[in-house]
Symmetry: C2
Subunit: 300 residues, 2 copies
Amino acid sequence: MSGRVLVTGASGFIGRHALAPLRERGFDVHAVARRPPADGSVRWHAADLLAPGAGPELVSEVEPTHLLHLAWYAEPGKFWSAPENLRWTEASLALYRAFADAGGRRAVLAGTCAEYDWSQGICRENDTPLLPATLYGACKHALETAVGAYGRERGVSTAWGRVFFLYGPSEHPARLVSSVIERLLARERVAVSHGRQVRDFLHVADVAGAFAALAAGDDVTGPVNVASGEPISLRELLALLAERLGGGDLIGYGERQAAPDEPPVLVADARRLREEVGFTPDFSLTDGLDDAIAYWRERR
Amino acid sequence: MSGRVLVTGASGFIGRHALAPLRERGFDVHAVARRPPADGSVRWHAADLLAPGAGPELVSEVEPTHLLHLAWYAEPGKFWSAPENLRWTEASLALYRAFADAGGRRAVLAGTCAEYDWSQGICRENDTPLLPATLYGACKHALETAVGAYGRERGVSTAWGRVFFLYGPSEHPARLVSSVIERLLARERVAVSHGRQVRDFLHVADVAGAFAALAAGDDVTGPVNVASGEPISLRELLALLAERLGGGDLIGYGERQAAPDEPPVLVADARRLREEVGFTPDFSLTDGLDDAIAYWRERR
């Protein structure tokens, strides 16, 4: 793959893991962050994409052939309903429009499982109804609707990676897997809900690898679930962590209220990713959890 | 109704007919146009809403309690696929966000029948699948998705008027009804398609009146078809014009190709507008066509 890819959210949870696989696929990688890290392996650009005109300016400076747009507001707990969702929708439209109007060839943007009607259980890209119940899901879905149509009109090959549940090194410590690992490492009690929710987990490096594969695969357009396709209950997941870390008795099931609108089953059909994009995850769930544990052990 | 309403697109086809009914409902009307007409009956503001920051500036200047957002790119023939659709989506999000964040109470925005899956025939607001086939329909639908969710989060009562087919005084001369009237008045041949398409027509003053009713009716939220609910074929419609103007033989059916993706039937279920909004059109179709004919006669 020859091309110059502009990666937004490049210092974020997924973005930082996407840079290496993009380089491995032969991309000239231009990474964007508000405060770029000191990392000389790619070309960094400092920009706040929410500032008026910032996205279009970056596009005219970098002249990318490819766009991987991962940046968004992602503060745990707050991102579902934060007003920043609308600002990111506006900024993302402006960025995509500048990219398309400048002759960009291929764009991949991060969507979410929160676009689906969660009463459906197993989510298939072109089949399961879309009925976002949150501002986050609605704004992501609005963005997909608008850029998908704009891309078709302007001849920009565009794919939309719907991210499910993820975990791994540098996950925000308030999120499920990292917080349970930290507590068990500290031998502290951790309050969780009933734990019978069935979900779809993928290691962040595989999520990022899937996005790199999508960026390189011009012929796959539209929504693609970025997920393992392997359902697991939260109880089973936490049992795997306790097996590795000990302290199964420290996990307090039912000591935390599950959100009333939480769906019992929310998993992906991942066949598009495997068969059409041709992407296979590197990590099994157990290897992935070992990797996450190693990361948090090092940081203690 | 007491309140200050900011009306965008106020010099446009629908907007110019909306000012009187808004005044009649007791609104303090602030109208926006790029080039305001000389009309002292409402307070005009000159602004290009596509200019960065223009919408938020207007909101902070006018401090509206109500927003009626009609402005969009509407050039006949071009608006379906023009890049301006994405720019209007961005500008509309910024305007709505500023309105909501400043404590705005009620917003009504113009949507379109082009949001629906056109293979469905009769379109019901909360029932017919949404599957916009055009950039115009996709951008309008994206806007609805994002502002609907933002409004729910911020407590802004928000309705979305899906406009079907309309006609009447000051219609763009390239559009169906006005162009046929002009040709028949000039005794010139007019090439049309097969004419068997079944559509839903509403006089523009009633479309505008429906939007004024929506602006005043805080309790109706979400999508509302702005339409007559009365199906008519284009042949029947043009026969009514020929009855009034003569020259039925000048209408060349089949002399123009229908677009290949034109749906045979595209009509609205208008019960929400009638029963929940409580709006009844002033014009019957025949009275409405007489009114449009009178307008074009005067201008000859």
